[in-house]
């Protein structure tokens, strides 16, 4: 990996290290940098150059993906502060939140048999979006206050939101197939 590209993702895009992100700046700098290192620029280059180009572009894509996805961005900010995750095993200890999520999951299953399942699912999606917004705000506050454990809990909650979105998506696709 080439040296400068291993620096922190925020610096790569010239963005301040914080949760709030200027999406337009991120997008335009991403394209600017891609234009420099993309393998398409080195089609007639040597194997070595092509290898570096693929690595650099891969790194940029990963960095971009991380910064534009709320959970990954939050998680990344914490990792910069040395907070480790094992998301497959960790789960939030907020019982109320877990109960809420279980209710949502039940609603999703019910929605599948509703008269207009797509409308039901859309509605559920809106609810989750607003909950996700609350969790994001919670993360931002905790992170700024350096309450890393609270911030970590928020990331785990965001994972739940993601899972529910993908569950909704899965059901929509299943409905599409009929």
């Amino acid at each position: 990996m080439s040296v400068d590209l291993t620096q922190n993702y925020f610096n790569v895009f010239g963005l301040p290290v914080q949760y709030e992100i200027d999406r337009d700046a991120l997008d335009s700098r991403f394209r600017e940098l891609q234009a420099l290192v993309h393998p398409d620029k080195f089609v007639n280059g040597t194997d070595e150059e092509r290898r570096i180009a693929i690595q650099s572009t891969g790194f940029l894509n990963e960095a971009y993906d991380t910064l534009k996805t709320p959970r990954l961005r939050a998680r990344y900010l914490l990792s910069l502060k040395g907070v480790a995750f094992s998301e497959e095993n960790d789960t939030t200890n907020d019982i109320d939140y877990l109960m809420q999520q279980m209710e949502i999951r039940e609603s999703i299953e019910d929605a599948e048999n509703a008269e207009d399942p797509f409308a039901e699912l859309d509605q559920l999606r809106t609810i989750i979006k607003s909950r996700q917004q609350d969790v994001e705000n919670d993360f931002r506050r905790s992170y700024e206050a350096d309450d890393l454990e609270q911030a970590r809990q928020a990331v785990l909650k965001l994972r739940f939101c993601e899972r529910i979105f993908s569950e909704i998506r899965r059901i929509e696709e299943r409905l599409d197939d009929f």
């Binding site: 010239g14 301040p16 089609v43 007639n44 070595e48």
Partner: protein, 619 residues
């Protein structure tokens, strides 16, 4: 060394040589080749003025091969030896064939190879070899028109082609002796042609219904950057299925649905195809099959094909969802592929997007034209062109986990190239090996996804369960092709594979085919390889000289410079020796290796320069 030049955009290091480049649309029904001449991209006709080359290959008893229109005319007389729609077989294994069997009049040979072989009077052939014949004809057409050898081509594939199908396409190009700059997705190519032509900005949808495949892609066009946001489709659904639906209806009407006679089946298909074309213009058409005569009207025709069109709209809905967009955010819908001429298709697409689709670009040629424009940029013929293509993988990539479940490592619609690592661990005490099974697809269980390959990481030192740290890295290159590496990080035990799809040709099969291939008859392979290495050597030498002249003083210290110059001189001497391509290749490698740190340094500096003015303290 192109990369060495990037920090000096204003300074040309070597006079640029115009390279002949072309775009190839290798279609199910027809194929085309296009190139950019005097700034204009256009498809190239054959000597009779025909641009479309029917993707049909006929093999005769004398061992001869005919491609195109003449081959198509043989289809009804000699279906067994006339391969049409072979694109449907690309990258398909024997077990896939049972799905297609009803549609194909060929006899397949018993073979040990994982690639199905079709029996013809001229011997057994694969879909890859038949495709190579088509590519060779197009290559010759372009080289005769341009008056020189092609440096490289961009070949289009359906966005929804999986790993195996992409590899098969690359293999066909290799057999046709073509240098492939890049495989790009057909809808993306169409978007390039459309975007450059209309100077469009914003979100567009490309609806591509070809003979055998359907693709939908959603792109964002912004200041020369073509960013694919989502892609979807079905690699086994196309206009041919309309023909089959009509043919089935004809057979039922004629009470011939039990027949297995290939010539009757062929005839039903031909009648169906003509009827379909006629119904694009008129309300009803008289049809005849064997003794039976009848009339097919638009109402029946629509009923026959409507379920197929609906399937394409489901894929559109899914792609929009993946892109997290609503229909009303789409500014234009570009229609691609001959099957979008069918009025019902246009109507349904318009109804779905609530907007009239664009049909003013020739749906047959737009893909080849976009590919030619991309090839021209990749060849370096447009150094000032600000065009950049950011494409995605169409299908998720993952690994088999305990219990036959699939863990996704890279989700579909992730921008490529991408490198992503995931950590796993052992689940038994003292476990010394881990089997890694790579899969492609969206489903949750192994058996519903496509197996891309398996390998075993051995030599893990015995530890308690859960102590080993096994990092599995997926790397997808700009063509959408995958490599997978595994490493036990506490000890550094490694294993890796370039994914060769389970249905791909082995290297030795490719080698045999290359030797057999007519393209190489009379061509001295050794000499050819030497010439290639010489060109490569010259390119490396020139690039290094130019780079060192421009910033060797600033970026390198005395001993680094000496080292590089020593490697340079060694290569220059090998270049003089003129006769050993292997030695030359090795010397190029040595120089590249030696220059690697310098390349990275220059690259980083150029990235830094680009970022200058965008510092954190701005905020």
């Amino acid at each position: 060394m192109a990369l060495l030049q990037i920090s000096e955009p204003g300074m040309s290091t070597a006079p640029h040589q115009h390279r002949f480049a072309a775009g190839i649309d290798l279609g199910t029904t027809n194929s085309l080749i296009a190139t950019v001449r005097s700034g204009v991209a256009e498809t190239l006709p054959d000597e009779h003025g025909e641009h479309l080359l029917p993707s049909v290959v006929h093999y005769n008893a004398e061992g001869g091969v005919v491609v195109g229109q003449k081959a198509r005319m043989k289809a009804s007389q000699d279906p067994q030896n006339t391969l049409a729609s072979v694109k449907r077989l690309m990258g398909r294994g024997k077990e896939d064939l049972t799905l297609l069997a009803g549609h194909l009049p060929y006899t397949f040979a018993e073979t040990d190879s994982s690639v199905p072989r079709i029996k013809t009077v001229a011997g057994e052939v694969t879909a890859i070899e038949a495709s190579a014949k088509i590519l060779s004809v197009l290559k010759r057409r372009a080289e005769e028109t341009l008056g020189g050898e092609l440096s490289g081509v961009v070949i289009t594939v359906p966005a929804y082609f999986d790993e195996a199908q992409r590899e098969a396409t690359r293999d066909a190009a290799k057999l046709a002796d073509l240098n492939v700059y890049r495989l790009i997705n057909e809808p993306t190519a169409a978007a390039i042609a459309y975007g450059l032509d209309k100077k469009a900005e914003g979100i567009i949808a490309v609806y591509d219904l070809g003979g055998g495949t359907f693709d939908i892609s959603i792109l964002r066009l912004s200041k020369g950057v073509f960013e694919v946001l989502a892609t979807g489709g079905n690699s086994a659904l196309g206009g041919d299925d309309f023909d089959h639906a009509i043919a089935q209806w004809l057979l039922e009407q004629a009470e011939l649905e039990q027949t297995h006679d290939p010539s009757i089946l062929r005839q039903a298909l031909m009648v169906a195809r003509d009827a379909k074309e006629a119904l694009s213009q008129q309300a009803a058409v008289d049809v005849q099959l064997g003794e039976w005569q009848g009339r097919l009207d638009n109402t029946v025709y629509r009923q026959l094909i409507e379920p197929l069109v609906k399937k394409t709209l489901m894929a559109c809905r899914r792609a929009l969802r993946d892109a997290e967009l609503d229909k009303d955010q789409v500014v234009d819908i570009v229609m691609v592929g001959g099957s979008t001429r069918v009025p019902l298709v246009r109507e349904q697409v318009a109804a779905f997007f609530e907007k009239e689709p664009l049909v003013d670009i020739d749906p047959d040629r737009v893909v080849a034209i976009g590919a030619a424009q991309q090839a021209d940029v990749l060849a370096g013929n447009k150094p000032d062109e600000e065009m950049l293509l950011l494409d995605v993988i169409p299908l998720s990539l993952g690994l088999e986990m305990m219990g036959g479940l699939v863990e996704k490592v890279i989700a579909r619609n992730t921008t490529i190239p991408i490198t992503r690592a995931q950590e796993f661990t052992t689940f038994k005490d003292g476990q010394t090996a881990l089997s890694i099974h790579v899969l492609q697809g969206e489903r949750e269980t192994v058996e519903h996804n496509r197996s891309l390959g398996k390998f075993v990481l051995r030599g893990i030192p015995p530890m308690v369960a859960g102590a080993a740290r096994i990092k599995v890295t997926f790397q997808v290159d700009a063509d959408g092709l995958l490599s997978v590496y595994a490493e036990e990080t506490t000890t550094g035990t490694r294993a890796s594979i370039e994914i060769k799809p389970s249905y791909g040709l082995t290297d030795s099969e490719i080698e045999t085919m290359l030797k057999d291939s007519i393209a190489h008859a009379g061509d001295d392979m050794a000499l050819r390889s030497l010439r290639e290495q010489q060109v490569e050597a010259d390119r490396s030498l020139q690039a290094l000289d130019a780079a060192m002249q421009s910033d060797g003083e600033q970026l390198l210290n005395e001993s680094e410079r000496k080292q590089l110059l020593a490697a340079r001189d060694k290569l220059a001497r090998e270049r003089e020796n003129q006769n050993d391509s292997e030695a030359l290749k090795a010397a190029i490698k040595v120089l590249e290796k030696a220059a690697e740190f310098y390349v990275e340094r220059r690259m980083n500096r150029s990235v830094r320069d680009a970022m200058a003015g965008h510092r954190v303290d701005e905020f």
